[in-house]
């Protein structure tokens, strides 16, 4: 059982992209992915309506597809989500498909039940 911990969004650095490709490789190898926990600026990965140019990889869409295909939970840390504008009165207007806001306790639980916690984050 793996948990991934992602601290950067697609627009900053490369960690979010590497995390996505790593998650897809886990899926291909038949590993279980407990959840992906997005924290700090990484929560912006769950912001909807970010445009991706046609000749680039749409990292958010690929995360949403992974979640739909594998039923992997994509958690956005609530403390970070509040700072980065993902928790207005109607969060469903801002949060992309497949993501959900959750508390840090879920990272604690994920670490306890996972053999590996793999982190992804650029220096900030």
């Amino acid at each position: 059982m793996f948990t991934l911990h992602v601290l950067s969004p697609p627009e900053l650095g490369t960690a979010c992209y590497h995390a996505l490709r790593f998650a897809e490789a886990l899926e291909a190898k038949g590993h279980d992915l407990q959840c992906v926990f997005f924290q700090d600026a990484g929560v912006l990965t769950g912001l909807s309506h970010c445009e991706s140019p046609q000749d680039e990889v749409d990292i958010r869409a690929r995360w949403s597809e992974l979640a739909a295909r594998t039923e992997t939970a994509l958690y956005l840390c609530s403390a970070s989500a509040a700072r980065f504008g993902l928790m207005p009165d109607t969060p469903e207007l801002r949060i992309a498909a497949g993501f959900e806001v959750t508390a840090l306790g879920d990272l604690v639980t994920a670490q306890r039940v996972s053999e590996r916690v793999i982190g992804f984050g650029d220096p900030c």
Binding site: M1, L7, D32, D40, L104, S114, E115, V117, G121
Partner: protein
């Protein structure tokens, strides 16, 4: 490289993780996220091992700087023993690099050499890097 069977991951003893804080408090909310995460693991009685290394050691600087309108992390760190985090580990080399005075660290801080930190790294089942 031989691939392991997905079911055959070597079982590591599941104790609390190491929380590795490496970013300057001015660099963004990353160090804050690390401190929050350490407190969460402590609240859930998971005995996190908290390490400040590289620019992360600046979270401990005194006076309690509030860089760029943010709150000081030092006050929060000073409260760690209330959450049963009885020790924090500090990279001694980084203290020197950022001209910080070891005398001004919290009393429960333990300054470590790279070799000691290496031992720490290798004895944890998981490391959360911030």
């Amino acid at each position: 490289m031989t691939d392991l069977n997905p079911g055959a991951l070597a079982a590591t003893e599941r104790t609390g993780p190491a929380i590795w804080i490496q970013q300057h408090p001015s660099a963004g909310l990353r160090a804050q996220a690390g401190v929050d995460t350490a407190l969460s693991f402590a609240v859930f009685e998971q005995s996190p091992t908290v390490v400040f290394a590289n620019a992360g050691v600046c979270c401990l600087s005194v006076p309690m700087a509030a860089p760029a309108g943010r709150k000081s992390l030092r006050k929060l760190i000073d409260s760690f023993p209330l959450y049963d985090i009885e020790q924090i580990f500090i990279d001694g080399r980084s203290l020197k690099k950022y001209s910080l005075d070891a005398d001004q660290l919290p009393e429960f801080a333990v300054v470590q050499s790279p070799g000691e930190l290496s031992t720490l790294v290798h004895s944890h089942p998981a490391i959360l890097s911030f």
